[in-house]
């Protein structure tokens, strides 16, 4: 098609350049074609137990949701006095607060510049607003049917689990959205409770378990991994126990879910790595590996 292919190719060697007119047709395919093709250069090796350890974040969050639902059920049935829950919650919050500072010796607090006064203010804001709004919350969903409320709560709690920041670097993660969905679900569920005091305590408890508890967890995991494993196991068993007291089938299913998340999924992840085939070459978009935000901070 182009100027006839030159026969003595030994003398003229094909070059991968565009600026020279080479004596080859435009659709010439050289031996060097695709020689820069690489495969799986970014593939990672995983250790089984390391993956299992990392999966405990998911377990924790599943258990949190489970505990929250169980507590709500107890309150709704009248098996749990609100005062008792409030007292327990307050006590565990105080313990958690002290632990939070003790674990890293107050370094995190110094770094973020958060004063105790600000903490107290936040706590006051929580309590006042929740207490002030609790009568409104009580009458808010009167005319809406209970099934709608349940459906919304399930939807919101699932959303909370999906968008939660488990430490992965993906676009879907949004801890704000996750937390908001959980609060929304708790407000919905609280409005079904018999009295406004119940609603107030339920919402307070939701904040403790969905907002404060993950913060403590993160710190535990970073500083004392061993105790973190212990806490996770303890939490999982307590959630299972709570669920068992409501429904045995539910407890078994939940246990299976926890097992598959912590053991089966890591196993599959490692197995599937063998089938990975990722093509790389000069056409790939280059990644910027450095942290460029330092120029702007």
């Amino acid at each position: 098609m182009c100027a006839q292919p030159v026969t003595n190719t030994k003398e003229v060697k094909w070059q991968k350049v565009l600026y020279e007119r080479q004596p080859f047709p435009d659709n010439y395919v050289d031996r060097r074609f695709l020689e820069e093709l690489r495969k799986n250069i970014h593939a990672r090796k995983y250790q089984y137990w390391a993956v299992v350890f990392e999966s405990s974040v998911v377990i924790q969050q599943l258990c949190s949701v489970c505990v929250f639902v169980v507590i709500w059920w107890y309150m709704d049935e009248g098996l749990l006095a609100p005062h008792w829950l409030f007292g327990t919650g307050l006590a565990s919050s105080l313990i958690g607060y002290v632990l939070f500072d003790l674990i890293d010796g107050g370094e995190g607090r110094k770094k973020s510049g958060q004063t105790r006064w600000a903490d107290l203010k936040s706590a006051l804001v929580f309590i006042t607003f929740t207490y002030g709004f609790s009568p409104v919350l009580k009458t808010l969903t009167e005319s809406v049917s209970t099934d709608t409320i349940y459906a919304m709560s399930v939807f919101m709690l699932l959303g909370h689990l999906i968008f939660f920041d488990y430490g992965a670097n993906a676009a879907i993660v949004s801890s704000t959205l996750s937390l908001n969905m959980a609060i929304f679900a708790s407000v919905c569920l609280a409005s079904r409770l018999p009295r406004s005091l119940h609603a107030f305590i339920m919402v307070t408890f939701a904040i403790q378990i969905f907002a404060l508890w993950p913060m403590l967890q993160k710190k535990l995991k970073a500083c004392t991994p061993r105790s973190y494993v212990g806490v996770t196991l303890l939490f999982a068993f307590s959630a299972l126990g709570g669920l068992l007291s409501i429904s045995a089938v539910g407890a078994i299913l939940f246990a299976l879910l926890l097992m598959s998340v912590s053991c089966l999924c890591p196993f599959y992840l490692i197995r599937l790595q063998l089938f990975k085939e990722n093509i790389h070459g000069p056409w790939d978009e280059a990644e910027i590996k450095e942290d460029l935000s330092r120029f702007l901070s």
Binding site: C2, Y19, N27, G281
Partner: protein
């Protein structure tokens, strides 16, 4: 050149257009083609694809072919427009979905496109850019109508994420029965062959070109202090984040260094923040969006051209800069290493550190006076890429394609099923059948014989360039009908 085309819109051809006497070309050519360029990207949108289509069309018209361009309507610019040399552009009323690309249903554009193909007597469909939905639609319809198809890929695409897996599958379907594919660089060819699972024999490499007469050096307009020029759209893919790291590093090191940055985009904000933070308002000039005709005036003000692209099939900007006599510093990505010889370009890795080293090397050479004179660089570069050469090579592709057979419907279905995987293959084979039935219906509704034949305004012998006087009308008509 590009903007001249826009200005010439609707005006009669002037004498400057006759650069080549028609007779000399006519003698050496065997046959002419009726080519239809299809792409979503055309003027008034600006970019590499747009100027490629325009320049290639002009050169093909110069060589005696009939060329029309089909694109979607841009705002008020709709209907039919004539550009320089009677280049006819159809701005079709199709909805733009995302990023100037039209939405596709694979069917809705068939009536319009068929009407155009028939009334223009098109023989070769040449689609451009894999981002353009209209280009793929046109390929699909052209194959259904039994026309020869050529596709030019202007961009590179990775294989890593989900979106690229999907788009690559679609490209496989679209190109599996296309007659010939053109890529703009060898890297782009490798990429396209891998993405669409093609036989490399039907993929030609024809680089882009620049008009060297538009990009001439002007050493007197250079600034006294060393100036680094960046001209690109300010988006992530062009590596503007890297630039935001380079600027403070180098400005701290060299107090007499200046930056001129031309272009507009979402990443402009980063550059502005850097400028504010390091108090560089007098040394970093952000020019905003540039017209193509102003690019040269910006380029000649600097000494070094910096390109920080993260991916690039064929970088026209560095050729333009080199043609203006600047020392080019660029990242080593995509097809960039193929574009310029090593003595004209300093290639770096895409990181702030490497690029800074490359720039420092260039600055050192500049200060020590070891760089060649701009005039010499221009004289070397101007021989590399010309549109005439591109048109010549593209014409060969057309010649080759025009003798090939277009797959008949049954073979086409076989090929779709065997080549594109079981699921996708069957789905698209079904769609192809539907398209064929739709075409038959349209042919029944409006037979080809009742569609008007459009007037060929292009080319040296076209209606465009002739002075049309009453007294000669009759005899001229007779002549024309004899030549056909």
């Amino acid at each position: 050149m590009a903007c001249r085309g826009g200005a010439g819109d609707g005006h009669p051809a002037s004498a400057t257009l006759f650069r080549v006497s028609p007779g000399s070309l006519y003698t050496c050519r065997t046959r002419t083609h009726n080519i239809c360029m299809v792409s979503d990207f055309f003027y008034p949108n600006m970019g590499g694809v747009e100027s490629h289509i325009y320049q290639l069309s002009q050169c093909l018209i110069e060589r005696g072919h009939k060329v029309i361009i089909v694109t979607h309507a841009y705002g008020n610019r709709k209907g039919i427009r004539y550009l320089t040399n009677g280049l006819k552009v159809y701005y079709l009323p199709l909805k733009v979905m995302y990023n100037q690309s039209t939405a596709t249903t694979l069917f809705h554009s068939l009536p319009l496109l068929r009407y155009i193909f028939v009334r223009e007597r098109v023989t070769v469909i040449h689609s451009h850019s894999s981002f353009s939905a209209m280009a793929h639609d046109a390929l699909f319809h052209a194959k259904t109508m039994g026309l020869q198809t050529v596709f030019t890929d202007h961009s590179l695409f990775g294989f890593a994420d989900v979106s690229s897996v999907l788009t690559n599958k679609l490209l496989t379907v679209s190109l599996c029965d296309t007659n010939h594919i053109i890529c703009v660089s060898y890297t782009s060819k490798e990429n396209t062959v891998l993405r669409a699972a093609l036989n490399p024999e039907i993929v030609s490499v024809i680089p882009n070109a620049v008009d060297p007469t538009d990009f001439t050096p002007d050493p007197f307009r250079r600034h006294d202090s060393i100036t680094i020029v960046v001209v690109s759209r300010l988006v992530y893919r062009k590596g503007i984040d890297l630039l935001s790291g380079i600027i403070p590093e180098l400005c701290q090191k060299y107090p007499d260094l200046n930056f001129i940055i031309g272009g507009e985009g979402p990443k402009r904000i980063i550059l502005e923040e850097v400028r504010e933070r390091y108090q560089l308002h007098d040394r970093v000039r952000l020019l905003g969006a540039l017209e193509h005709k102003d690019v040269r005036n910006v380029l000649v003000q600097g000494h070094i051209f910096l390109n920080t692209s993260l991916t690039e099939a064929f970088c026209m900007a560095i050729v333009e800069a080199a043609s203006c006599g600047l020392q080019v510093v660029s990242t080593r990505v995509g097809g960039i290493p193929e574009v310029l010889p090593e003595n004209l370009i300093i290639l770096c890795e895409p990181s702030v550190k490497s690029l800074c080293e490359g720039l420092e090397k260039a600055i050192f050479q500049l200060k020590s006076g070891t760089l060649p004179a701009p005039e010499n660089i221009h004289n070397i570069v101007k021989t590399f890429y010309t549109w005439r050469n591109v048109a010549e090579r593209t014409e060969k592709v057309y010649d080759r394609v025009s003798v090939e057979a277009v797959l008949p419907m049954d073979k086409r279905l076989d090929r779709l099923i065997s080549h594109c995987g079981p699921v996708t293959g069957y789905i698209f084979a079904l769609l192809a059948v539907f398209n064929f039935l739709f075409l038959i219906f349209l042919r029944w509704m409006t037979p080809d014989s009742v569609i008007d034949v459009a007037i060929d305004a292009t080319g040296p012998q076209g209606a465009w360039t002739n002075n049309y006087s009453h007294s000669k009308r009759g005899s001229e008509n007779n002549e024309i009908s004899k030549t056909r």
